[in-house]
Symmetry: C2
Subunit: 588 residues, 2 copies
């Protein structure tokens, strides 16, 4: 037997026991002829003491041992001498006095240190040696947290009557907006499987099949352009329910997350329970984005009426063009330097603003770029409407409504980070509902699906399909948290006539509809129940719970930001024979 205990489980109650341990040397110290090894395994770290009275050959071997060597230690657990306990270590009250030391495998000096998060090399080096990087306590903790999150989801949904069903990875191209990854078929020359962008069609077919409540921790694949925090493959909690309305789905998911957070991340708190629910319109008006961070205030406030008769040209011209004047109040920021305000103005321009007007509220009268253009009465009204106090800085945007919302919504996030306004222990979940059904693409001059083409429109809006598509709303919903979209879902179309209408609105020809979606339309003719679902993303959720800056920190073997596995070197070239078997060749 390689070991009787894990390193991390030993406590003072084991004192006197002879144990066998196996693990990695986390740190070695030598002190007056005695060697101390911190031996590490997934469970924790324990101090091994190597006294000079061991056999000579063993001591000679011990002399060579360095960090990350793999050792097996037989020894006796002993309470540390008075005053030598280390309260920072869970095993800090004890040590193991070695009787035998066996080297199971030596290690070269690792490319970076495992026993600290400092001095890490650039990310590609970490990814190349991912099997070393994952040994760091922080990454190990992330991977264990991910396991716990997913385990909780599965257990919870099981008790709610859901069954997990595996759907194929090799399926048919599903036009859901992104590019498909393709898999050439060897048996059918010129034909391809596609990796699923999500199991959307399959989970709907499972509802038609009477599976009632389905979920799956599902791998999804999107061949998108590399930017931001994306991976070619990602994981979502894919779920679908029959005989439900929107609020049934929201209640299920809210229940799951509300029960889960305290269990898997006791250091996190739910910002509010029940979660707030905003319409798409309202959330844009109040937070300037459909992914609001609710952990702090600083809502967008419409002050158009106050400035209806303003002589400030910037406000006047925006209002007379049918636009709005809105503002946000940055607390205790009246003393912000010129340079800081310039930086905010630059951010505003990057978000589409022509400029930024500011009022620094101060006891001796307002300052800032708008100060000399506004009246005392206007300032008083703004203070009254916004609740701004002496010492606050008010930032105004005046333009078309959509631009104003985007600018102030963006500045709100910039100020959150700058002023450290968000409590990092909070998980501020919320629902956003009542999305528009169509979006008009100015470029192609065509209506596009705002969600995906299987989303059910509000039944009352059905008759506006032809007359006024822009006024049709959908039964889609998003779950947001701390400024991220953490899930998206909808009630689905379950009637063939509505689904046909939808495809036709999107400009698909009858032939395209048949080739791509014939099986879905046909399924709806054989007793499809009303159904809906959603799909919380796992990677981002665990990232938020682990306080990590990107999802690569919570994935065991992520691709780098250039979409490569730099450890195994993938993608890579293959044998010409393989391509020939697959009936394809490289296009030069």
């Amino acid at each position: 037997m390689y070991r009787t205990h894990t390193c991390g489980e030993l406590r003072a109650s084991h004192a006197g026991q002879t144990v066998t341990l196996a693990g990695w040397v986390n740190r070695r110290r030598d002190h007056g002829g005695v060697a101390f090894f911190d031996l590490r395994d997934r469970a924790g770290i324990i101090q091994i003491t190597i006294n000079p009275d061991l056999p000579k050959e063993m001591l000679e071997q011990v002399a060579n041992v360095r960090n990350e060597w793999v050792l097996q230690i037989e020894g006796v657990v002993q309470k540390r001498p008075e005053g030598m306990a280390n309260p920072k270590m869970e095993t800090g009250e004890i040590e193991v006095i070695a009787k035998t030391v066996t080297v199971l495998n030596p290690s070269k000096t690792p490319p970076f240190m495992v026993n600290t998060d400092n001095d890490l090399p650039d990310e590609n080096m970490r990814l190349k040696y991912r099997y070393v990087d994952l040994r760091r306590e922080r990454l190990t903790r992330n991977i264990v947290l991910r396991h716990k999150v997913i385990k909780f989801m599965r257990d919870y949904l099981d008790t709610q009557g859901f069954i997990e069903i595996e759907t194929p990875i090799m399926f048919k191209a599903t036009p859901e907006g992104a590019r498909d990854y393709l898999v050439p078929s060897r048996i059918y020359p010129g034909q391809f499987y596609a990796l699923p962008q999500s199991p959307q069609q399959l989970k709907q077919l499972l509802m038609v099949a009477g599976m009632d409540k389905y979920f799956q921790i599902a791998r999804c694949f999107r061949d998108e352009d590399l930017r931001g925090d994306r991976q070619p493959e990602f994981t979502q909690l894919d779920l679908e329910m029959s005989y439900v309305h929107r609020d049934d789905v929201l209640a299920l998911v809210e229940g799951l997350f509300t029960e889960m957070i305290p269990v898997v991340a006791p250091n996190k708190k739910l910002f509010s329970s029940p979660w707030p629910k905003f319409s798409y319109k309202e959330v844009l008006e109040r937070f300037g984005t459909d992914k609001p961070d609710l952990r702090f205030g600083m809502e967008l406030i419409d002050v158009s009426e106050i400035f209806a008769k303003s002589e400030f040209k910037v406000f006047q011209s925006a209002l007379s063009a049918g636009g709005v004047v809105k503002c946000i109040v940055a607390p205790k920021s009246a003393e912000m330097s010129r340079k800081e305000v310039d930086a905010l103005t630059e951010s505003a321009r990057g978000l589409g603003a022509k400029g930024l007007a500011t009022l620094a509220i101060q006891a001796e009268g307002p300052k800032g770029t708008a100060a000399k253009f506004v009246t005392v009465a206007e300032v008083a009204e703004v203070k009254s409407k916004t609740g701004a106090k002496d010492g606050d800085l008010i930032l105004f945007a005046a333009d078309a409504r959509a631009i104003v919302n985007k600018v102030l919504g963006g500045l709100r996030v910039v100020l959150r980070d700058k002023l450290d306004l968000a409590d990092k222990t909070m998980m501020a979940f919320a629902w956003v509902v009542d999305f528009p059904f169509f979006a008009f693409n100015e470029e192609t001059q065509a209506w596009e699906s705002e969600h995906h083409p299987f989303t059910m429109p509000k039944m009352d809006d059905l008759q506006k399909f032809d007359t006024n598509p822009g006024e049709v709303y959908s039964d889609a919903y998003d779950m947001v948290c701390n400024g991220y979209e953490t899930a998206s879902g909808s009630i689905r179309i379950h009637r063939r006539d509505i689904q046909m209408k939808m495809f036709q609105m999107l400009g698909l020809s009858d032939e395209e509809i048949q080739t791509k979606f014939g099986h879905m339309l046909e399924a709806f003719e054989y007793g499809a129940p009303p159904h809906g679902g959603m799909a919380p993303g796992i990677d981002r959720l665990v990232m938020l719970l682990a306080d990590e800056p990107n999802i690569r920190e919570v994935i065991a073997f992520p691709k780098n930001q250039a979409g490569r596995d730099v450890m195994a070197d993938a993608p890579s070239e293959v044998e010409p024979k393989q391509l020939k078997e697959l009936h394809i060749q490289i296009r030069e």
Copy 2:
């Protein structure tokens, strides 16, 4: 709200309650102006009674309702009248008297009946309408069973300190014997990801990363030729442990299965506990195969010594050529017809035998093809050694040992089915260990890995690598059940020098080794712990537990036997634009 209860959960205790149900019409009967609908959902079936006193419009709608229509029913639960209870239905004591009937979705007449397993069309028709087929109670039960099996595995391994870790689906070509499915990269022209044949390398790297105990319900992909019961993608319980010897892994897996079977399949019994453990050599000698079905006896018995001086030419020539004479005893088969024996002989020939000798043991003296060539003494000795009784049929094979084992092993299975010898309620698990490390490929005149190239040889055999590869044994092991291999595993190589030696033995050049396995060899230099694991297949296990004849019956959306998804039509042709983006073209 669409429903207050599921159809299947109602019992006599609900009598008097007003309930709302939603589901499919499983069967409609009309009787004296009253319509009876069996309404079905995943939970079960309940009888709905539609009395003629409902509003006229509702009755008109009801008149159209046929099987598989989706209805919402509001009604009152009522005990059935005396003598009308149906004890075959779980809800058979009650019925729901409808107050309102709402058609949620009509259904065309389905392509085959859902409420029976009889009169099913050919499998391709079932697969094309998989969303209809899955509504059959039998298939629904299989999918739920699969969920329960996997849920049990996860829960058990979690309590044993395992963590589930997701490994990439888009990875690097892994040469594990089968062809890889490839995924062309859009971003790196001419380069390809590969779908994993198993997470073998990744799980070993997780051990190097200190993850200690890993598992994953892993999707695996092999582009093999289509024959038998294969799917392009399949699911395995992939697991790996650090600091273990072979028997640690076996104990873990045996514990899991032993606890699982009674919970997930209470109608099944474990044939023996603890499970028998056979060496590869022993299992071939006794059962003629390394995948023995232990649910019945009929072991292969070596009678070479008895016939050492036989004058029966068939036996003589086999023995004098260094071969063996072995037999199996078919119980109560002495009266088998000439035609039946001929069929067995044909089977034997198909398995590689030159012929088949038989002895029908009868009170009046033996009959059969060998009867006139054997002495009374020989018959007596054979009866004594095999325990054959009057009325039994003894089947002999005489040839080289490997051929004899294969022939009798094959006949043993033929006779099992013919004579119905195997108790279908039994799950006869066993271990097969001590496999040869190398297999000599006569065709290529080269040594090949019998398991896979990461399997650890028995340490004592290491020095025979160069001198006598055929005598090297490995730390590989198989789990078998009812004649199937249900899992395969091994202790892995964790030392660079042994792994290098292994690759060199397999004839790989240094450059190939570096390109394909450089990352593994490098990982072994940075503190790789001893480790091992195994990978029980999920599909076949559930198939056995569900008493199904093939794995397609326990997969929600399987490919057909030609590797196609006939429901969505995949693989299929794609847009030329997509291929262009991927830098490939079809080879004409």
